[in-house]
Symmetry: C2
């Protein structure tokens, strides 16, 4: 029979295996897994399965779906509590300009943060979220090696389509419901410190809907129908590109911030009592300077001194964002054409109680109302609903106790601005979720994405992150 969990031995093991653990992080990061380009996905699934086995999972399965495989694993623990650790092994594409080091080179670099010097690995996925995935597996590995078992039963579910909106995760969870239902809560490993070392704990995630709008002469029945024509014809032929500008112009007010689509805000619930209390606390701690420095942002939409208003906007705000637009002649010089079409990508972020299935119909109705019903609206990937867990839930309380035990007083946010498909576990398995861990990483979806490996007095090193994760599992195990 396996030995009982021994915290001290596990921590020593983490320190001893530091080099091996960094190597495991790099190994996972360097394996491309860009789901949007279908690049390296199956190889990465195989690698994750291998890592599950390496860290002592009882059984490992690569489960095929209609899309990219799910990597399932199980690990018997020393308590009755069962945690479903949700991972994504896919990443964003990494071919944008601006990388100072190879996006797949996992280069260890010296970095100066406001909290002091650190060493960090620069690689796509370091922050979002193969870095935290590898750190968690390192933590499990150390339990297996020294304790024999982690302090909680684990079900590991890694999907390879998060950046596509997790189109096959709901049907997988429904199909595998019997096994997955053993979980008492869902956990998503995540580095929760910012560049100053301040910790953030998110109680929820926003939802997201993503779509492409295309305005073409062909569907409109006006303007060039099949190809761009000489721009002298603008004198008597309409422009689908101007039409798109005008259609988009009806969707927000003059500064692009207030959304003018009927019904867009209708389902939004007012912040709860719990939300309001959290925001009041948060506003006091909000490090606007740190955010601005990391993201290279100069001004917020609202005045920076009203931190409560800022926090409310970020937390409870739904958004309509143009991710990209393209059409006509986009190269060097002065080719004069009247384009026949233009396309843009748009995302909507959802807050309680907006529902993802209602948003695209609202956009379509808006276009109809303004006479633009020929402009197509095509959903890309499947989108997520928002999800929330109360601060009072045992899994959240275990997380907060862990932060406390490690000397951190995290900012508790009602929600993150990002989207993670917790709603799948929450709505289908009816379990709460939590995310987090000490450590710092940043620049998800941007060039030079990084994760700290050697921290400083404020920002945790990888070894501390792993110890935190062990303690969180233990705290949750003890709470059952």
């Amino acid at each position: 029979m396996a030995r009982e969990f021994d915290r001290g031995r596990v921590f020593d093991r983490i320190d001893k295996d530091k080099k091996k653990h960094i190597a495991r992080v790099k190994r996972l990061l360097k394996q491309p897994s860009s789901s949007q380009e279908d690049l390296g996905i199956n190889d990465c699934a195989d690698l994750v399965a291998k890592l599950y086995a390496e860290v002592g999972c009882d059984n490992v399965e690569i489960i095929e779906t209609k899309g990219n495989p799910i990597v399932y694993g199980k690990c018997k623990g020393t308590s009755d509590r069962t945690l479903l650790a949700y991972f994504m092994y896919d990443t964003m594409p990494f071919n944008e300009p601006g990388w100072k080091h190879a996006a797949m080179g996992a280069k260890m670099v010296d970095m100066r943060l406001p909290s002091g010097k650190v060493k960090a690995i620069v690689n796509r996925g370091a922050d979002n979220t193969k870095g935290p995935l590898a750190a968690f597996l390192n933590a499990v590995d150390s339990c297996a090696k020294e304790g024999g078992r982690p302090p909680v039963n684990l079900i590991l579910v890694a999907e390879g389509e998060e950046e596509l909106g997790s189109p096959n995760l709901p049907s997988y969870v429904r199909k595998d419901k019997k096994r997955l239902s053993k979980a008492d809560a869902c956990y998503f490993p995540f580095f929760a410190q910012d560049s100053t070392g301040a910790c953030t704990h998110f109680l929820g995630v926003k939802g997201v809907v993503y779509f492409e709008m295309n305005c073409s002469g062909k569907r409109w029945g006006r303007g060039p129908q099949e190809f761009a024509i000489h721009s002298s014809n603008k004198a008597w032929v309409d422009s689908p590109l101007w039409r798109m500008i005008d259609a988009l112009g009806t969707m927000t007010d003059d500064d692009g911030n207030r959304i003018l689509i009927d019904g867009f805000y209708d389902d939004i619930a007012p912040p709860s009592e719990e939300d309001r209390e959290l925001i009041e606390e948060l506003a006091k701690k909000l490090d606007t300077e740190g955010f601005k420095r990391t993201m290279k942002v100069k001004e917020f939409i609202l005045p920076e001194d009203d931190k409560e208003a800022l926090m409310n906007a970020y937390t409870f705000g739904t958004t309509l964002n143009i991710d990209g637009i393209w059409g006509g002649y986009m190269e060097k010089g002065s080719k004069t054409v009247l384009p026949h079409e233009v396309t843009c990508k748009v995302d909507i972020r959802l807050v309680p109680n907006q529902r993802k299935d209602r948003m695209i119909p609202l956009v379509k109705r808006h276009l109809e109302k303004y006479g633009y019903s020929d402009i197509s609206v095509k959903e890309i990937d499947t989108g997520y609903d928002w999800c929330r867990t109360s601060v009072k839930d045992p899994v959240v309380q275990a997380m907060l106790r862990t932060f406390d035990a490690h000397g951190h007083d995290p900012q508790v946010w009602p929600t993150s601005g990002g989207a993670v498909p917790f709603y799948v576990f929450n709505r289908i398995l009816r379990i709460p979720f939590t995310m987090g861990g000490v450590g710092h990483s940043s620049l998800a979806h941007s060039p030079n994405e990084y994760m700290v490996v050697e921290g400083n007095k404020k920002v945790a090193s990888l070894t501390e992150t792993e110890k935190f994760m062990v303690d969180f599992m233990n705290e949750y195990g003890l709470s059952g």
Copy 2:
């Protein structure tokens, strides 16, 4: 001494040399000369110089400028009149999708036009305007071979920067003014028939101004400053892309046709008596169906049955056209980013008495007025002023007599919608200009650009084009 010009012998020579002439056309077309990409320019200048010598020019010079060289040639004729033939040896880029045959393959293909079957060469530049240039050199060659001299003195000026707005043509013309001033008129070879065989004669050209607008967080001082950031931040960070949509939205009314920039229409002169008479005639003959078929256009801006209004719009209308727009994420899938910048290319077409130097200041003033002075406006290439010649001018009358002699009753348009730098010759040398010739070509700036080589009963073959050009030279020579 050279023999006098003998029309019959020259025409026989054109028939005899048909294969050689087609080969010369193909040779010129197949030499890439994309000025916007600086592709093949010097090789093409060398080739044009070689062709000048081949067709009997007395002296040929490749004249360096600050940009691409001018190819100058001179040819003594049998009359006192001197014609300055203006050519452009550069073309648009040819890497856009949609080519059914290699863009540089000069493939001879069977084509069915509304006027019947033809054989045409498909190649970038076939229409705009290396096809007409080669045809004219063939005509001169036939005079040289059979008549010893063309029926008019010729000065040949080929530039390689027309598609860049002819930035160095004005200074060249000023510098070489002494020699060029011998010219009584300027001529631009051009295939003037449409796909039904109807002939068009343009008395003028519009002007053009081309610029790029860029909206960036950096210049704005709001939004992401240096790179695209995660789109969840739209909740509290502004979007330069929405700002560009809104700024562009202020520039035209809801259908993108009426321009709302103060002063944009101010300098426009009302159509002259001659203009109005021409338009009345033109409206009767306007082949809207032919245009729509070739350009794949379904509807005009104005109702198609009011042909006079259509002609007025095309002829006297100034335009503000978006040639292209790009920014943010433009690839596959659903990358969620808040972009830090967006760029668009815009062209303005000018009619009498708008002036190119006044337009960009108006655009800038408009952006300032609406609070968008951070959006940059950068002129691309140098633009052209409009230019006109009266229908009564001897060089136009010679052209119209030639059409008549060849059995054509051309539609006389006060202006083309396109821009050709005739203003340089007109304003500096104070000479009138004309353009034209029978023959049909189309799809300038589009894939599958072509020129007819073997015509039908309505559309001229290359040999007929060349005979027309010989007759035009002769008519103009006799008019002196």
